[in-house]
């Protein structure tokens, strides 16, 4: 097809040349002789005269020339132009054929690609699910829907599969479908799916509503491949992902149904980023009292935000990045007198209330939602969406840029309000970003290390640092209170 186009262009050029030539020929005999500058070699000109303006020697082709008058030459040119036009027409026909064929194949490719993508996604999901299960057995992990690796394609309005983007529709649909399925799986398996509904509007609702929303959310084309470890709120993740995807503020605002609509609109060109970042997995651990997640603060923030904004959502905004078994321990940190104390046994469940990990659905959800909401709010100018917070959290963990910067600001204000930090604490803080840079932290030193790490991480990630710090501070502030 390209070749054809090239030829087409060439032919057009030729024809235009002929036209110009004709013009020149017509004007040439007007005068008996012209004063011109004759080219003298490649670099010089010489003044001269053009005489016999009516005589033209025309190349007929194949080394044949003929001397003729200007008018006759014009006729010859006309005749040649006819030829060129004929060739042009033929080329056009061929091009049309190609185009129609190309369209057909493109559609095929798109669907195929979507299929491929879908497949890929499934794999990831499976992995996440597996990991999730692991945690489950250990304790009741309250998995927050982390930003799933779900490929989030902007899916405008769940219900509406109609996507403006032609090709993407099939892909998006597939993804959406996939997401739904995953979510359903999660829902079934998930213990503590925080009733994301409540809160955060988009997040929870999305989860409940799911399918629809999920689709939407993530699709903003941003595929945040945050490895969401068996996020309970899968859909949330989706929504979160949407958030991420919607780095564009407000664009990926999925959380509430209403949001959905908004999101829908915002769905930008679906871009798929498969980034396998540590999943901020929120694991709710039914641990006894004083179990706190490192990032509980964040959760608190999120929760706070959430509460401020909306009802309760999932508490655990960020799911901790758990890369090694040791990480699990890290997350199970008890808060004793405001300090982090590594827990001896992560299986033992303390009083729910104090446990950070305990996922009192409401609380955790709330927290989670809050966090998300916070984050989201920043990005989306809406605080409440738990989903947002989640997504944001995830983002943070993932070290996503954009929205996160704004988050810290939000978090700070939210720090003022004490969240239900007491109750649900997300064990696994989405220290993913920090975790990511620092693979493993010694267990006993978990609390400090974590904090340090977080701080380090913060320092690293310019964008993230502000957030983390704020979160921690906020959490810390809350804890004493």
């Amino acid at each position: 097809m390209k070749l054809n186009q090239l030829e087409f262009v060439n032919r057009k050029k030729v024809e235009s040349d002929y036209e110009a030539l004709q013009e020149r020929l017509r004007t040439l005999p007007n005068k008996l002789s012209y004063d011109i500058m004759v080219p003298f070699g490649p670099l010089a000109f010489m003044p001269g005269k053009l005489v016999h303006t009516n005589e033209v020697t025309v190349l007929l082709g194949d080394n044949w020339f003929s001397k003729c008058s200007a008018k006759q030459a014009v006729e010859l040119i006309e005749h040649r132009k006819k030829h060129v036009r004929k060739v042009l027409d033929d080329l056009q026909k061929v091009m049309k054929n190609f185009e129609s064929r190309a369209e057909f194949t493109d559609l095929q490719k798109m669907s195929d690609a979507a299929g491929d993508f879908v497949d890929i996604r499934e794999e990831i999901e499976d992995v996440s699910i597996e990991t999730k299960g692991k945690y489950r057995t250990a304790h009741k992990p309250h998995s927050k829907p982390k930003l799933s690796n779900v490929f989030e394609v902007d899916f405008p309005a769940n219900g509406s599969d109609t996507k403006s983007m032609g090709h993407f529709q099939s892909e998006e649909e597939l993804w959406a479908h996939l997401e739904e399925l995953e979510r359903q799986e999660e829902l079934l398996g998930e213990l503590d799916r925080m009733p994301n509904t409540a809160e955060t509007n988009g997040e929870d609702t999305s989860s409940s509503e799911e399918e629809k929303e999920d689709k939407r959310t993530d699709l903003n084309g941003m595929y945040r491949a945050e490895d969401c470890i068996t996020q309970g709120n899968f859909h949330k993740e989706v929504t979160n992902s949407d958030l991420f995807g919607g780095q564009v503020n407000g664009s990926t605002y999925y959380h509430s149904d209403d949001e959905d609509d908004i999101d829908v609109g915002d769905n930008s060109v679906p871009t798929i980023f498969f980034s396998h970042t540590v999943e901020p997995k929120r694991v709710r651990i039914n641990t006894g009292k004083n179990t706190t997640l490192k990032f509980s603060e964040k959760k608190e923030e999120a929760n706070r935000k959430r509460k401020n904004s909306s009802g309760n959502g999932h508490a655990t905004p960020e799911l901790p990045n758990i890369k090694t078994p040791a990480d699990i321990y890290r997350f199970f940190v008890d808060v004793v007198n405001g300090e982090y104390v590594p827990r001896k046994s992560i299986l033992k469940s303390r009083s729910r209330e104090n446990s950070v990990c305990s996922n009192t659905s409401d609380n955790s959800a709330a927290e989670f939602d809050d966090r998300q909401g916070v984050q989201r709010s920043i990005s989306c100018d809406e605080a409440t969406q738990s989903d947002n917070s989640e997504s944001i959290l995830e983002e943070e963990e993932e070290e996503e840029e954009e929205g996160q910067q704004q988050l810290p600001k939000k978090l700070l204000p939210s720090s003022g309000t004490t969240e239900a930090f007491s109750g649900t604490v997300i064990e696994k803080e989405p220290l993913s970003p920090s975790l990511i840079p620092h693979p493993v932290i010694a267990h006993p030193i978990l609390p400090t290390i974590l904090e340090r790490k977080s701080e380090e991480v913060l320092s690293k990630a310019s964008e993230e640092t502000p957030k983390r710090i704020s979160k921690f501070k906020a959490a810390r502030m809350q804890q004493p209170s």
């Binding site: 082709g61 194949d62 044949w64 001397k67 006759q72 010859l76 005749h79």
Partner: protein
């Protein structure tokens, strides 16, 4: 046994490749002839458009040689016929080459099968 087959296979493969080359050469030549054909057709038509008053030249190397109208027309016509003849010849050649390359392919396939069988046994 397998080695023999392999050698034979190599030989046949080379022959096949040679045939392919010939085929492509023939195709290229034919394309050139086709271009000349079109051009000569244009020349013929343009000659029709001209009348006897203007002189016709033929470029022979660096020289433009004057020609008569009829002469020129005659020459162009003959050239046209020559070109068409050439094209036909090349067509035939191409068909022949195609047929032979098909045969070669068959033999190649057969030999490959034998080779595999031999290898399997061994």
């Amino acid at each position: 046994m397998a080695e023999q087959i392999q050698k034979k296979l190599q030989g046949e493969l080379e022959k096949y490749q040679q045939l392919q080359k010939d085929l492509s050469r023939a195709v290229a030549a034919r394309q050139k002839l086709e271009a000349q054909l079109t051009e000569n057709n244009i020349v013929k038509e343009e000659l029709e458009l001209l009348d006897a008053t203007n002189t016709i030249f033929k470029l022979m190397g660096p020289v433009l040689v004057k020609q008569e109208m009829e002469e020129a027309k005659g020459t162009v016509g003959k050239r046209l016929e020559y070109i068409t003849g050439e094209i036909k010849r090349y067509e035939q050649q191409m068909q022949e080459l195609e047929r032979r390359s098909e045969q070669q392919r068959e033999t190649l396939g057969r030999l490959q099968q034998e080779l595999q069988r031999g290898q399997g046994k061994g």
